[in-house]
Symmetry: D2
Subunit: 448 residues, 4 copies
């Protein structure tokens, strides 16, 4: 069992003012090396190349999600305590598993997660569960609370935990994870779009038989949250310049893989901590994974600037010194003609494998529950005065307008040099050809 | 000559909303590798171990200081333009050197500057000047503006530039550097203390024959700034827990030096980029220095956890996993008896050279001009209605109360284990001895 | 001609930090009695009965709208100055008429405007023009600038001024009036919904041949503004409780009219300043109108509590002591049966003429230009990279979802007593009948 | 006994986000006419003539002070609950009297309190007690809780309540009243000076045997509060322009008194609600007092503009149209020569009784407990780790610098016309004489 601390400890947090730590268990979890590692993993990765303020890390987000879970479950404890089993109300005994799951939900995130998972075939959610249930300090702390506690927490993150209220607080379309990261990303980027009325949302949240609902009086606050999220995706997370950095990162890591395949000496290319990542046919162990962080990758890239492979050293230098690839929009009509663009880039002396990329930014801002979907969404339900439920987009024209409609931004990336236009431009004719294929920031395939 | 951009570019900044870039020169400077390196150097170093939000870097601070300089000199251009030489007003031709000096004032900062400079005998101000005047991209951009421009900018930072208005805007007791970092540190830590009324201060700033003065109507805003600064030092910068991390960092880097002296193989201990730092009797070149950043040190520390030296691996692990040394206050009376404490720590099995430290946090929050001081301060002058000047503390009781009075917090640091108090504590008697020397967080020497 | 002030004056403003006054003309206008009267007219009237913080007045809003106009036109002066006539750019000579029209656009607003205009058949826009062109201090100040200046300013407010850029800055679907009041109302109510990214909107505003457009890069900020406005209407301006106060106000003023018609002595009922308002067949003169303010009405209501007419004294007391009528939603289906409700209210002893009301809150959040509409809207145009225009809802699914769709909240109001449910309730059976007609806050007509 | 509400009600508040109302008693008190009257009494009176945003009323401040009291006592209930009598901890049974006293502490405030009390010999604190214990709705609500409850609440406000913890939470040098008004005034004026770290202060507050102390870890937050308060007095509350309005108000009300003494017809001068105020030798009853509000005075002043007394109509017009008297500083040396100034004002045709004034703004920002003082202050005590107490200024140099040192700003007020300097100035010689007595905004007596 966990003991309450004699006096709560607080962490100063710029978003929630204070993170209140009231349980020895929570304090012990924060003090594990695995949790402290989150200080070395940035929340938004390459986005900070565009929004320079956004250098916050996953440690802050994790304690923030915990704090929201703590506040919501405290509120549930006070106002919606279950009286009889099956009354659809809140069981206070679920508080600890909820706040711990909120705290640990991102513990498996690694450096530049998106790029990393794509290239190295890992998955941060699986890794989170592995860290919770594997041979780690976190696991030992959780076991000291109760032997089955690691599995309970892991099942919340896997969404297999039986109590849907708990699961939905941690992962649904309006959960503590999203609420914290939207507010936090808005604060650190300086973009006002991500702000919404979290106090009101938390006050209108209600446990119910199917999970979590929202009192009808909170509808507009929920609408505002959905719209904020939608705006943050379009304005911040999809930003073409940070994606112009991301594709460089992808290509330079891909180049290292390729060089190793070609027989370059691993010990020249990657130090001992990074080596397991690039080892062929090797699944990273939890211990290996936990040594990785942003610093390790950035340091390797710093070093690769000196490596005697022209492509690797050039891409590394572009990444470190923020020379993003430029981009233009493509669409279903123009996508088939992309080899036309790649050819011109090649004519200008760049290997298109490493110097061009197609990158699609995609988000489905909101959807209702679609039982036949591959990953059905938990829809947001509003609760009327008489207790009946209505799905959000039923009542909100705003949300209906974006429901089930994916936001999609497809782009073709290429070196900035392709836009050169100077008198001493060696490839002046090629560059001119290239520019002739672009209109209003969009690829217009030529005739061939 | 610099050309104005056809349309200004802006960077979203959480403190100043937007950083406005209106000159090609400024844009080119920001795009140099040397300036981009500032993204990889945190502003507050170990402070983020206590205030988890405070992970902002020197890139943001540098463009912030630039933006303040731009706004102030725009205001001077509009309202205080010199009419005849020597009228003590503002010469608009000084704007460019001012905003560029503001932008570049920190470009020589390295990772964990304070610790680093102390251990490796470098100096970030000298390094800033070396980067501006040496063989760098920044230098080439500055030269393209005018051949003597690098030297002019460097002399502003060296405070030898003839125009005192420019010098004082960049470095004085109320300059763009301090104004930006106080606001920025307050924003990122979440501590409200650092806030002050920057709009009012900027509106009451005036160029004058002796440099920069402040209209009497701004006195209370200036007072508030001084008090905010004072509070930030005591509450944030002096925080004993972050200093408990700093001393570990110092000791672990010191241990590496020592191991190399003892003949350990450099290539086992430090990679190629870090090697020059530890080379005996070697002055770092600008090029070597510019490869250093936070990531490099953090990655080395990550690796040292596996190094077969018990002290180095232990200290590295404590640092990476945030296990700060604890501390107690000492003072002039008790300082001479510190060996008493060191002895007990040694009795508990810790080498006091690496497991204890005395650390003094010191700041002189404000002083008037003292011609005989080693580093005389530029005092803050208020300008009365009839144009006469009065030194700030003459009129402000608040400021008078802290003028010339150093804030000092002297502490003795030791491993947390010394406070153990459990039944299975191997050194239970030693730890008890240790605790008997502490009262109210302060060292009380015993009788010997 | 107006002279620039030797040094700008500033007003501290909680929304825009400072209002910068740089012209003698603007200062003189602010100092007229007609403009100072705006301090005595609240911006949101009865809304403060629900959002207690929202007691701000039209003085603050007017100088705020001025400040936005000043900033935008300064920006236009700097970046979009017309070179040749008809190039669709900005003529700096239009700045003065723009900022003065912004300052004065609300000068004809009276106490509780909405209610007042409805009952007494006045119109604040006509009144604004009358004050600008009539025998007033404002008119004299404007004339001193140039003899035709009053008419120019008035024609901007009447939207007949030839320059559409000026007209649209002052009144369109995204003008300085709306931008200021949304931000200001959000600040004072404490509702976050009204916030949007005004800095970004102002940076993407562009003068063009048809008036004012917005660079495509600002689309999401404009979307956010439209959504914020939509939310403020639904959440704040339509609030049923403040409308429950408004209908009391309407009825009590109507009762005074009725009593006068019935022959009550005017000098007992209304003091000399208020008398002209209630005089039969009398059009208020500008001079009479300008003596009216919130205080006058509130003081009269305070006094009417003692008046020997039961209905007037009761309604006055309800208004002053905040005893709002309650309400239920009605709709097209149920509206025809409202006499059913009125009858029950009558059965409970209340005169339905004074103790019930139907009140429709209506807003059309956005519409495109519809040439055949009664009041065609100026649509919001986005400007693409090649200079072509697209109407906002063409590109924004969010805005398309609310375009041309009126927000409407129809309610029936009645005394709170109708919901009584106590044992000592005299009208217990009547009240029960009444409640049986309500379900989920909505009127469900019974069978008759 | 009070019942808890089934679900708390909240009021949206721009300072504290939400005011949480959890008790039927508190809700009933807010709904009394006497409490609702506070909506019609502005918090800062004439200050809004300078800081136009600062139009907030005492209703908002009162519910704000209540909310702080609620949060602090909730915290005390959770962490510092008394175990045995006399242990110096907190008795939860004191919560209700504390939050109710906080809610009602200003209920006796009237329009323009400072001026009013001075002229009409009333006292808002006595009036508050009279309203609580007299024949009022508030009294009836309090009695329904328990018959002795009105007296208990009144005694807290009178500071005679036996429990010093309760008394000091409501009135001391750091109480809920001051904390709320500083934050609120800062928010509404837009002046940042009033901000301080209320969250931290509330967390370090501790009940103790002598009342309320502050944990040493909160010292800097308390310092910051003291300094903020000091700054708000100097920058906002002492503002010479609002005092230039206040002296006009005083003089015009004084003129009405004088005219009545001279035999003018009361019914021509003052309406029925205002009449009791001006009745000779009449003590206002609670019922008469409760009819007074800002509107009544402002309406009377509006009307007095037409009154056939030149002085009254002129002063009324100056007040309503914001034509403040100008002022210069005087001091102990120059004060005796003020008749010199008055004579020149008289020479210019103004009756010095009504057109000049001496006005001293005075505040003692902090003091320790001085048993022999007329009104001894409750000093602020810091609590060390071992439980011992230290008075704040003992440890804080900042606070020591202002302890016991009154802030004083003595000024002489006169009509703006005295500074006229134009060619068509009738009194040009007199005005020149007047100006010759002023230097640097200060009175320099001439030789006579």
């Amino acid at each position: 069992m966990s003991e309450k601390l004699a006096h709560e400890k607080v962490l100063r947090d710029p978003i929630h003012q204070f993170i209140h730590i009231q349980d020895q268990l929570v304090l012990d979890l924060i003090n594990t090396p695995e949790f402290q590692r989150l200080r070395r993993v940035e929340q938004l990765g390459v986005t900070a190349f565009v929004f320079h303020g956004a250098v916050h890390d996953r440690f802050g987000h994790s304690v923030g999600a915990y704090e929201l879970a703590r506040r919501i479950t405290d509120y549930f404890n006070q106002y919606y305590q279950s009286q009889t089993e099956g009354d659809g109300l809140w069981n206070p005994e679920e508080q600890m598993v909820t706040i711990v799951a909120a705290l640990l939900h991102d513990v498996g995130h690694g450096a530049f997660s998106h790029t990393f998972e794509h290239l190295f075939n890992t998955n941060h959610e699986m890794m989170t569960q592995a860290i919770i249930t594997g041979d780690t300090e976190i696991n030992r702390v959780l076991q000291s609370y109760s032997p089955d506690f690691p599995n309970k927490v892991a099942s919340v993150i896997a969404k297999t935990y039986p109590n849907q209220q708990v699961v939905q607080l941690i992962s649904s379309q309006l959960d503590v994870d999203r609420m914290d990261y939207l507010l936090r990303d808005a604060y650190y980027t300086g973009a006002a779009y991500g702000e919404f009325d979290i106090d009101r949302i938390m006050r209108t949240m209600k446990p119910c038989a199917t999970g979590i609902g929202f009192d009808i009086s909170g509808m507009h606050a929920v609408e505002d949250y959905i719209v904020s999220r939608y705006q943050m995706y379009l304005q911040v997370y999809f930003h073409p310049v940070s994606r112009g950095m991301e594709v460089i990162l992808e290509h330079l890591l891909g180049r290292v893989k390729e060089l190793l395949v070609e027989g370059h000496n691993p010990s020249d290319l990657v130090g001992p901590l990074l080596a397991p990542v690039f080892e062929a046919d090797h699944d990273l162990t939890v211990q290996e994974y936990l040594r990785l962080d942003d610093n390790l990758f950035m340091t390797a890239i710093n070093g690769w600037q000196d490596y005697p492979d022209q492509i690797l050293s050039d891409l590394s230098s572009r990444f470190l010194n923020r020379k993003p690839f430029k981009s233009i929009q493509i669409n279903e009509q123009s996508a088939p003609y992309i080899d036309e663009l790649e050819q011109v880039v090649k004519d200008a002396g760049f290997d298109p494998i490493y110097y061009t990329a197609q990158n699609d930014a995609y988000d489905l801002p909101y959807d209702d529950y679609k039982p036949t979907a591959k990953k059905p969404r938990t829809q947001i339900d509003l609760i009327l005065g008489d207790g009946s439920h209505r799905e959000l987009s039923d009542l909100s024209a705003l949300v209906a307008s974006i429901k089930g409609r994916a936001s999609l931004d497809q782009r073709f990336f290429f070196p900035k040099e392709m836009l050169n236009n100077g008198p001493d431009d060696l490839f002046s004719q090629v560059h001119q050809n290239f520019r002739s294929l672009i209109k209003n920031d969009t690829f217009i395939p030529g005739e061939r």
